[in-house]
Symmetry: none
Subunit: 258 residues, 2 copies
DNA sequence: CGGCCGACGTCCGTGTTTCGTAAGGTTCCT
DNA sequence: AGGAACCTTACGAAACACGGACGTCGGCCG
């Protein structure tokens, strides 16, 4: 009801391409895009892990040789949040790489140099094979909030929120870690994928997110500030809705905090 | 004595399966049963709502296509009595269904035709997520005090205390070492991380902490002064130790603070 | 092709919170 | 009684969060 006029985007599979070479990444992304995939990109390990955690792609194309973080490590890290099909890019056709890749959980691999068409075929193949598995993530819920990571849709009280990419990722991360204090550094690392950076960026985005999510952004109830430490997402105490105690802290009496 | 030999009484999760097709329902119920769930069944909307209201299942497996009452309506109706995880069965993997499911409050969905094994996996996954949250990190408790280090939350008699960083860390340290005298130097080292420093800092902070924690800060019962040595945190002396474990210092796990 | 607009990262001024220390007063032990 | 340890209060400085605003980049539309 209500939001009818919005034309539903086709259920495009989302692929995360991880490669530090801009040229390679560009070509791969381009081909995948033309093949009908929604392509996300990351240039290094931490960024890849962050984006994978935030966006939950249907498949990851992962270069084995990455600066800083090893590709295998990245693969492991990504897989820790759930099973995701991975197609690896390896420099040589060595058995070594193949073994390593398969060991770590890659579903297929392509050796450089490769034809983009072949890569697309492999991706499609792996996805076809994996479509029978529980790959697509469920919904995230807490109180009156509901997020659909796959469709990148956010609802509050059944009303769609118009969130930007960063805002969505940030909120999704909060929903995945309810009731826990998340420091700015941690958020910067796991949502932005930056190891260093101006932490005020986080502050500002939290502020903008509050603007859209909170009833009274000046007195936030969902994303509360923990002074000197960071922010904490709390399941709704329930001022308006009846349902909502799924994850709630039972013994809560005084909601007065301001 | 008597009930010793009984290994944990099976806390079987109860699942309500709602499907008008007896074959589907039978298969699903069978698999869920074998997976260790207590299965209840309903063939149509009204029956489902009634059984859900009566039995309060831990999860509902709900067919979207039901005779008479719409599956979405059923979902809404069931949810009105409280938040219950719902796994939807949909005919096609349409975005439409996905969006509807999101709006109506489902937690996951499976498209027909589906493998019963996958459904079981989804059910377990949703349940795991729903029940894992309250059992988050270990709390520090003692008497009427309860600290949640991960959330940086402090409760006394279920009422939240407004502690600053230092106060929280200090209290947490006391709770981790109940009944032991802690010298100012030691506190300065392990709470502040300073090797040297004005010890009166500790004194003042203990005072400020007492102000918020003690009933009568002038006559402290929790954090008592040991003259010439330091302070000692005592698990509450009688009268109020009603809440289960008096001194449940959970697994350590290492210092969080730095 | 150029202008418009949204998203994003950064910077700055301001009000608030927290912290460490200093300065008396009080209690306790010898 | 004397001295040391402890309590209490007060205050300045620093850290912190917030809101507003600006410049840039990229996509979209005219």
């Amino acid at each position: 009801m209500g939001t009818a006029s919005v034309s539903v985007p086709p259920p495009r599979r989302r692929v995360l391409v991880v490669d530090d070479d801009p040229t390679v990444a560009e070509v791969v992304a381009s081909y995948l895009d033309r093949a009908g995939f929604a392509v996300d990109r990351a240039a290094d390990g931490p960024a890849a892990v962050a984006r994978a955690a935030a966006a939950r792609p249907d498949l990851v194309v992962l270069d084995l040789m990455l600066p800083g973080m090893d590709g295998l490590e990245v693969c492991r890290a990504i897989r820790q949040d759930g099973p995701v099909p991975v197609v690896m890019l390896t420099a040589r056709g060595d058995e070594d790489d193949r073994i390593l890749g398969l060991e770590v959980g890659a579903d297929d691999y392509v050796t450089k140099p490769f034809s983009p068409r072949e890569l697309v075929l492999r991706v499609e193949s792996v996805l076809r094979r994996a479509s029978a598995l529980p790959a697509r993530g469920p919904w995230l819920r807490s109180g009156t909030l509901a997020l659909d990571p796959a469709a990148r849709r956010a609802l509050r009280d059944g009303v769609e929120l118009q969130l930007t990419i960063r805002e969505f990722d940030l909120l999704a991360f909060f929903l995945r870690h309810p009731g826990r204090v998340l420091g700015r550094e941690e958020l910067m690392r796991r949502v932005w994928g930056w190891e260093f950076g101006d932490l005020s960026t986080v502050t500002v985005h939290v502020r903008r997110l509050r603007e859209k999510v909170e009833d009274d952004p000046a007195r936030p109830r969902l994303i509360s500030t923990v002074w000197g430490v960071g922010y904490r997402f709390d399941p709704e105490p329930g001022a308006d809705a009846d349902a909502g105690e799924t994850t709630g802290v039972a013994a809560d009496g005084g909601g007065t905090d301001g």
